[in-house]
């Protein structure tokens, strides 16, 4: 091999490496250090006001009632939101994939559309659709005799409403991937099953789902990691309220970090969230491994 190629490789990756190194890897390392200090607004004024505090920030996070509330909210969002999203995606994919479906191309694009819309814009729309007095949702429900629901104003309803919103916004993404998985299942399997007289339900249970397992696993993981980063939805729709019922961990980090400039504490929150995300991912992967899906 000529020497030029060896250097060329490094030169080719250099720009990307520099950007990622300077703007991502270096900050991650610095974040570790930052989370061990009491970096706050006074430290911004002068570094003389900075103290090393060891693990105090982490202890403070674990002792903070609001953190556990935010974590509970985030887990609620993840645990309810992910299965719903994947379920809806599976259902939609099966419908679009069905041999009976017409205009498949149209439906595929239509159902995928929310994914590419701007989160802030559609969150604004949803906020008004779910408005208690003038919202269309309550109007339609009213037609069926349902009393007006205080969707985003009731501490028990706000998170479910945001979950519904996330479901609408995201299921198309998983649907597209599941659809690709469905297309990869050979038709002969279904034909053989039909010859054996297996019902559509049995075909679904014994052919489709097992073969789709790895795909579902992948989209489940990707969706879950994304859902742990809940932030913009409550930022626009509820500002974390009512009663902090939609405050997510990331929102808490943003509050502490960029409203109050407690950058040390915010870094600790970010790492704790990271650990919880990793743990949840690990659990899911282990469950998948038992089924042979990973």
């Amino acid at each position: 091999m000529r020497p030029g190629r060896r250097i060329a490789g490094w030169v080719f990756i250099a720009p990307a490496l520099i950007v990622i190194g300077v703007f991502f890897l270096l900050p991650v390392l610095l974040a570790v250090g930052l989370s061990l200090t009491d970096f706050d607004i006074y430290a911004l004024a002068s570094l003389r006001n900075l103290q090393f505090v060891g693990l105090d920030n982490y202890l403070a996070v674990l002792r903070m009632g609001l953190f556990w509330r935010a974590l509970g909210n985030t887990l609620y969002f993840v645990v309810v939101g992910v299965p719903l999203s994947i379920g809806a995606a599976l259902g939609a994919a099966l419908l679009v994939h069905s041999r009976l479906a017409r205009c498949r191309g149209f439906f595929r694009v239509a159902l995928f559309t929310p994914v590419v819309t701007n989160l802030i814009a559609v969150a604004v729309i949803w906020k008004y659709l779910f408005q208690t007095r003038y919202g269309i949702v309550n109007f339609v429900l009213g037609r069926f005799g349902v009393h007006p629901v205080d969707w985003l104003g009731d501490p028990h309803m706000a998170m479910p409403t945001i979950i519904l919103f996330a479901l609408w916004k995201n299921f198309g993404y998983a649907m597209i991937i599941v659809l690709a998985g469905l297309q990869a299942i050979p038709d002969e399997l279904y034909e053989a099953a039909r010859l054996d007289g297996a019902s559509a339900w049995r075909q679904l249970r014994h052919i489709t789902l097992p073969l789709l397992g790895p795909t579902l696993m992948t989209v489940g993981l990707l969706t879950m990691v994304g859902y742990f980063q809940l932030f913009a939805e409550p930022y626009v729709m509820t500002e974390g309220g009512p009663l902090q019922s939609t405050l997510s961990v990331l929102y808490l980090m943003y509050n502490q970090g960029f409203d109050w400039w407690n950058l040390g504490l915010a870094s600790a929150i970010a790492f704790v969230l990271f650990v919880f995300t990793l743990a949840a991912t690990g659990l899911l992967v282990r469950a998948g491994r038992r089924k042979g899906w990973v």
Binding site: L44, A45, G241
Partner: protein, 430 residues
Amino acid sequence: MHRIAPRVASLLLLALAGLLGGCGTSARQRPIVLQFWAMGQEGRAAARLVRGFEREHPDLRVEVQQLPWAAAHAKLLTAYAGGTTPDVAQMGNTWIPEMAALRAIVPLQPFIAGSRIVTPADYFPGIWGSNVVAGRVYGVPWYVDTRLIFYRRDILAAAGFDHPPRSWAGWLRMMAAIKARARPGDWAALLPLNEFEQLVSFSLEQPGSFLKDHDRYGNFQSPQFRRALRFYLRFFREGYAPRIDNTQIASVPIEFARGHYAFYVSGPWMIREFQRHMPASVQQDWATAPLPGPAGAAGNSGIAGGASLVIFRNSRHQAAAWKLIEYLSRPAVQDEFHRLTGDLPPRRASWARPDIARNPYAAAFRTQLEHARAVPRIAEYEQIVREMQTIAARAAWGELDTAQATALMDRKTDAILAKRRWMIAHGRLP
């Protein structure tokens, strides 16, 4: 073969440099450009007001940037943290101590001493005082606000009252009567649970402060504050006000016009909003009144709020920046500002002018402003009152009782103030 490496590298560097060069802040050129940040509608008005200033000073140009009100505090801090502060900014006067503690803004006495336009005696004392930190003046009031009540005269009349409430007890009685007659879905009052100003106002109506020992510890468990909190919580526990955040209200003027609320506690900008967005049929039916007092005497106190104009330490054109502040403080320009925004002027002189003197809605503010009190002047104020409100909201929902809530407020406040105590102990704060 060996030449490619440097070639690729220089190509990329060029591309990067181009990007950076194209995006960096543009170099300031001959006419001095003053950066002026203002919020919301004041920002829009400022963009028009500065034209007159530029005509008078051909050597100066003013670039106005608008900050969204909801994020203004965070944005100003971010600008400070990022070293991108402007020359002049509008600043909520409760944030001034924070910016002063950070040495982000400069004391203005040297400028004021030589000014014939900015004369402290003409300003409302409480408002002027809110700009003074440790004996130094950091801001010149631009407009003032204090929270008081907006009410529906017709709803009060229908419930048998021909005057607004003067005492807390009287207010509660009125609300009970209104609530008893209300249609389902209608309420006696609107006090959004995520706004801290109402509770702070009630607490300022009594002697003492919710901080103690030179603002180093919380004092929420004091009898005065507990009394204010108990009063505040009755709005929700008796069902007079809905437990609702302001994010869930489509439009206050429209809701108010439809009679969904009889009382609303807010500031002077709502005068303009109500005049604009409420139908003509109800324009005769609403009025403003000073905040009822704990034991009678309404309007004896309240938050000395509003916004001031400040100069940032990073500014390289502080003299020119002061010229802009002086220009905006001229009575004639103040009148124009009031005409554009409806904001209430901080100078007594302006209140003698016919359009304000004859404004029936402004009178209540005038009364209250004479006695308005400044809130604690420390960097952590905003964080503390937001924490306080979070806890008050939990109490309003019945998660905590008054004693638990105030104890929690003190605990949170003491934690927030830990760094302040450390700074004081190390002689780094006055």
